[in-house]
Every structure is written in structure tokens, then in C-alpha cells.
């Protein structure tokens, strides 16, 4: 994975020094809160319901064991012993003191980490397929492009005050594991008929209060023109995106209002102009980055055999272990969704354990998935049992990946000042209702996502079952959506009827799963059955 050079490190160190001075001035009273707020936000420090919250960047979700260990140590040293992994592939700490925040950033800088691009109307940290560089179905590792994008976008002076925040996701497989079409820009590494590698650009997707699926704006772009094309996409948005209404300021509104064809035409004109300016980084820079993402030294003698005689281990392998591109290796997903737990939360000890496992068994690499789980991307199959035993002892071996209890949930009203309703207790009650793993596996893949407000940090629009918490005359109320998906078959869920109380929503979901089990054909997933039979049978069961 990418290691900081002296320029990267100097930039991060300078940022820490700058921020330390800003905090000192705030505490001394020479900066007011109005003056300080945009500065702290640019360094990931929010003020939430109970305290300051620090959002730490994990660019494209990739980190090494040293960085992961630091995340655990920060949880112990400066927070209350835990952290929360989010749908943006980063980590948030909920109980940070303002006076500690410069020291935290200084500690992070020692391992090449920071909180840059975690807030503000800039290009945020790029997200990526959490199986990048390991997936058996991958055309090319998307992370070199993500890293180049990071270097281009960080502190980009032209795009530091966009009409609104801007999120880019990048994948290198046909399988979309990054909700790519639901980002401001989604980039997919593809191959054309001649076998050449290129980039497909989707522009204008997003969730929030106006969910939209991004249309294709460029079907095939030579990779060495990526920065120029991004520059063109952003310039058109920066020039024409609305600044008068924050709810209509995202690029999805611009693309929707002028139309994808008109947007494409403007981008192509700007792109042609930019090409004449030679803004593209030299090819050697992309090659330098690519050289840091070469495959680790896989053991050619690694065996595919796994002793599955322990039934609990066999269950976990079946559910949480994926095919790897290298023979004898596998991809392990560590579920942060124990029954009754808080989705995405991990204690300092758990974080450090995962760091140790990555160091000892995964070529020192980990990934944060947008589904709020942790991935060990390169694990020898012969090591799986030892890993599982250590995870199990640390309550990290829940075998529920992509099942109904593998719920994405935002922090909701338990932590977030924007939320209207709590998300976590609903996730806990659903997981407890379906706690029987046999029942979960009988239901099969069922992606359930919960947001505590319309901002959709819990991706409720993209859930096979989505839940949106709203404030109804001072009471929490939960709307139920069916039909969303974030994969290659991306679709947006629809609200099926009146909302429910916290307990009512759990009952409604159970009724929906009963309908699915009664109506499904062959190997249909919940989403497949829903798409085939429509809303009516579900509404009848739930509201009838």
C-alpha cells in the first residue's frame, strides 16, 4: 500500500502545526466560535450532541496495522475506549476534548494519518471497493487511481469552496461494493473490446433528501487523462452548481436539471480545453504510485484446503470469507455487528487485535468497508482457523455478513446533532428479533440500512429494506422503504406506507420477511422477490 513520501509527511505535519495554533487562539479567545468553526471542521472536528466528535480519514478505506493500532490507542488515550467505523470508510470518536484535538492529530501524523477532507464543501476522501487488490473478479486495482485522486484533490485551491461537499468512489470490478453510482462521481475501471484499460465516469449520483442514481457521462477514458477529466467535471459544477440553496447545491441537482447530455457536452468542451493546458500529472507519477500497490509476496505453495470440522468455524467461513485472486488465499470480513451491539463500534482492544491479525496474517493490510465492517484482504486459508479463534475470543466472529443483522446504521439521535430519530436501538432490536443464525441464513442476503434523518448517512435509500427515522410531532417515527440496492443493480427504495414506532418497525420487517419466504422462487434474494411481485403483497401483510 501507499507510503507517504517527504512531501506528504511535510504537508500533514504543517497542517498539525497550523491547527494547533488555531486551537490555541480559540482557547485564548482571539478567535470566536464563528471564526473557528470552519477551521475545526476542516480538521474533522464537529460539535455533536454530547461532545466534540473527531472524524479521522482513512483514504479509500485502506490502512496498515501501525495505523490501525494508533486508532485503537487514540480511543483509549483521548476517548472512552471505543471508536465508530462509518459508511464513509473512516472512523469517528465521540468524546473528544477540544484541547486534546491537536495532540490527536499529531499522533495520527506519526503514522501518516489525518482528518483532512473529512468535512467542508471540498472534495472529500475518496472511497473504494474494500476488496480492492484482492478480489477474484477484479479488472485492476482501483487504489492507485484513488491515491492519485487524493494527491490531486487535497487542498486543491480551485475546489476548496465548492457549492457543496463532493464525494468520489472508485471500483475496479464489475461487482460494485462501493455504492459507486450513489456518489457525486463514481469511477469504474473497465476494459474495452481491444482489452485496453479505461475509466468509466458516472456523475450526479447521491443519497440525502434527493436520492439519484448517477448516469454515465463518459463510457471510456484513458486512465492517463483522469485528472484532466475530473478537473473538467468539477469546473462545470463549480461554475453552475447552486449556491443559493444548500438543499439544491449537490452536483446531482445540476446534472438532473440541465440533463446528463447537456452536462456531458459542457464537460467535454472544458476537458478539450484542459488537455491543451497539460495539467495531467506525468505518467511516471501514476507508475510510482502503482508500484506501491503491487501484490504482496503471495506464497505460491499456499493450499486451498480448509479443515471445516468445527461447525461454528465452518459457518463463519461460509458467511464471512470471500474468494481471493491468489490460490490458497482468502478475504476475511470481520463483522462489527454482534447481535445487540452497535453497528460499526469497536473497542480499543478489538481495534488493536485486528491490527495484530493484519500484521501477522494479512501482509499488514486492513480495509474499512462502507458497510461498517473491517476486512483482512490477504489471508492464507491455512491461517483462517487461528484467526477465527482469536476473533471469536474477542467477540468479533459474528457470522452474519450480508445477512439481515449485518445492518448499516448511522449514529442517529444517540450521538448526532442532525438526527431526528435514533437508529442504533432499532438496529439492535431487529438483530435481536432475528438472532437465530439459522433463520438469518434461511432469509439469505438481505441488506438492511437505517438512517436517523433525511441526510441518509445510513444509506436507507439503498437498502433492500431501508428505514428512515423522522420526527413526528416530537416522537420518533420510522418510515419503511423496500427495493433499494447499491450494487451493480443499483436502485432506490420506495416508502411503502405510513411509518411505525420503534417496536412497530421491527414487527413490520418480520412480516415482510414472512411474505418473502412464502413467495420466493428458487434462489431469489429478498430484493429479487420484491422486484418480481411488487409492493402489494408486502403492504397487505404489514398494513392489512
Amino acid at each position: 500500500m501507499y507510503q507517504y513520501d517527504t512531501h506528504d509527511q511535510a504537508m500533514v505535519d504543517a497542517r498539525v502545526a497550523e491547527y494547533s495554533d488555531q486551537v490555541a487562539r480559540r482557547i485564548a479567545g482571539t478567535l470566536t466560535e464563528d471564526q473557528f468553526k470552519p477551521l475545526r471542521l476542516k480538521n474533522g472536528l464537529y460539535l455533536q450532541l454530547h461532545a466534540y466528535m473527531l472524524r479521522v480519514a482513512v483514504p479509500y478505506g485502506t490502512l496498515d496495522s501501525r495505523q490501525m493500532r494508533m486508532l485503537g490507542d487514540i480511543a483509549d488515550k483521548y476517548d472512552r475506549g471505543y471508536g465508530h467505523f462509518t459508511t464513509r470508510q473512516n472512523i469517528q470518536y465521540n468524546w473528544i476534548k477540544l484541547e486534546d484535538s491537536p495532540a490527536i492529530l499529531a499522533d495520527l501524523a506519526t503514522v501518516g494519518m489525518h482528518a483532512i477532507q473529512t468535512s467542508g464543501n471540498c472534495i472529500r476522501n475518496t472511497t473504494a471497493d474494500h476488496f480492492a487488490g484482492a478480489a477474484a473478479d477484479e479488472i485492476a486495482d482501483p487504489r492507485p487511481y484513488a491515491e492519485l485522486l487524493r494527491q490531486w484533490s487535497t487542498f486543491h485551491p480551485e475546489f476548496d469552496y465548492l457549492p457543496r461537499k463532493f464525494k468520489v468512489a472508485i471500483i475496479g470490478s464489475e461487482t460494485d461494493r462501493a455504492a459507486m453510482k450513489l456518489h457525486d462521481i463514481g469511477i469504474q475501471v473497465v476494459q474495452n473490446e481491444a482489452g485496453e484499460t479505461g475509466l468509466r465516469f458516472y456523475v450526479g449520483g447521491g443519497m440525502g433528501r434527493t436520492p439519484m442514481i448517477a448516469p454515465v457521462i463518459r463510457d471510456f477514458l484513458p486512465p492517463l487523462q483522469m485528472i484532466s477529466y475530473l478537473e473538467a467535471c468539477l469546473r462545470i459544477y463549480n461554475a453552475h452548481g447552486r449556491r443559493d440553496n444548500k438543499y439544491k447545491a449537490r452536483i446531482k441537482i445540476l446534472v438532473h436539471e440541465i440533463g446528463a447530455d447537456a452536462y456531458r457536452t459542457q464537460v467535454e468542451e472544458e476537458f478539450a480545453h484542459i488537455l491543451t493546458l497539460n495539467l495531467e500529472p506525468p505518467p511516471a507519477e501514476l507508475e510510482r504510485i502503482k508500484a506501491q500497490f503491487v501484490d504482496p509476496g503471495f506464497d505460491a505453495a499456499a493450499t486451498d484446503a480448509i479443515d471445516l470440522s468445527d461447525p461454528d468455524f465452518a459457518l463463519w467461513v461460509d458467511q464471512n470469507v470471500h474468494a481471493h485472486k491468489a490460490p490458497g488465499y482468502a478475504i476475511v470480513t470481520v463483522s462489527l455487528k454482534p447481535v445487540g451491539g452497535i453497528p460499526g463500534d469497536a473497542t480499543a482492544d478489538q481495534i488493536r487485535l485486528m491490527a495484530d491479525l493484519a500484521r501477522d496474517h494479512s501482509f499488514d493490510e486492513l480495509r474499512v468497508s462502507h458497510a461498517q465492517n473491517i476486512v483482512l484482504p490477504h489471508v492464507k486459508k491455512s491461517d483462517l482457523y487461528a484467526i477465527w479463534q482469536q476473533l471469536d475470543a474477542a467477540e468479533l466472529a459474528t457470522a452474519n455478513l450480508d445477512l439481515i443483522s449485518d445492518i448499516i446504521a448511522c449514529p442517529g439521535l444517540d450521538y448526532c446533532s442532525l438526527a431526528n430519530a435514533r437508529s442504533i436501538p432499532v438496529a439492535q432490536k431487529i438483530a435481536q428479533r432475528f438472532s437465530d443464525i439459522g433463520r438469518q441464513r434461511e432469509l439469505g442476503e438481505l441488506k438492511l440500512k437505517i438512517s436517523g434523518c433525511i441526510n441518509a448517512c445510513g444509506h436507507h435509500h439503498a437498502g433492500h429494506i431501508g428505514i428512515l427515522g423522522v420526527d413526528r410531532k416530537g416522537l420518533e417515527n420510522y418510515q419503511l422503504l423496500f427495493g433499494g440496492s447499491e450494487g451493480a443493480d443499483t436502485s432506490l427504495g420506495s416508502i411503502i406506507g405510513p411509518g411505525f414506532s420503534e417496536d412497530g418497525i421491527v414487527d413490520a420487517i418480520e412480516k415482510a420477511t414472512d411474505v418473502y419466504l412464502a413467495k420466493r422462487e428458487a434462489d431469489e434474494r429478498f430484493i429479487d422477490t420484491y422486484r418480481r411481485i411488487g409492493t402489494a403483497p408486502f403492504k397487505e401483510a404489514i398494513y392489512g
Binding site: L47, R80, E502
Partner: protein, 103 residues
């Protein structure tokens, strides 16, 4: 609760970020210490923010009964209580029913 409806001032401590309540002369971490501010909340908030003691101060509605204070809106009750999913981090207000404030 069916006690007196009052207005109280809340915010976050500048340095720690802790939820804090205006007692009439200082700031307290305990919601039950909050004093009624009547129509003076905005002026107190401005003064206290200028003095670097609090950040993001604002007035909320609450009900006081038998020495316990219960904010009217669920968001403020959660601020007063702590995360409902981490009761080990709860601030434990005086109201004996506080643990069930939200459910």
C-alpha cells in the same frame, strides 16, 4: 411529568465539549441544576459565549417537578441523559424515570 413549564439554557463546554446547563450563575453538567432563564436566555448565551465558557448555547423548553428537570424535546432529553445505547456513559439525572425517558 406535569410540573412547571420553564425555559432553560444549555450548550457545550468550550474545552471539553460536555453538555452543560446554566444554573443562574455558572454551568453544570447536571440537567437538574438548570435554572429558569425566562426571556434572558439569549443575552446570557451571548455573554457566556463571549466569556469563552460555553459554545453553541441555546434556550430549550423543560418541565420541573419534585426537584427533577425533564427537557421537553427528545433530543434534549438524550443530551441530558447521554446515549441511550450506552447507559454506562449516562449522566443519570434526578428523575427516577430518566432511564425510561426515551423509550
Amino acid at each position: 411529568m406535569s410540573g412547571d413549564r420553564i425555559k432553560v439554557l444549555t450548550g457545550n463546554d468550550l474545552l471539553s465539549g460536555d453538555v452543560t446547563w446554566w444554573t443562574g450563575s455558572a454551568w453544570s453538567r447536571k440537567v437538574d441544576d438548570a435554572a429558569t432563564v425566562g426571556d434572558d436566555g439569549a443575552a446570557i448565551a451571548a455573554s457566556e459565549e463571549a466569556a469563552q465558557r460555553v459554545v453553541g448555547a441555546y434556550v430549550i423548553d423543560a418541565v420541573r417537578e419534585d426537584g427533577a428537570l425533564r427537557p421537553t424535546h427528545i433530543k434534549e432529553r438524550i443530551r441530558a441523559l447521554g446515549p441511550t445505547v450506552r447507559l454506562d456513559l449516562s449522566l443519570r439525572p434526578n428523575d427516577p424515570a430518566a432511564a425510561g425517558w426515551i423509550a
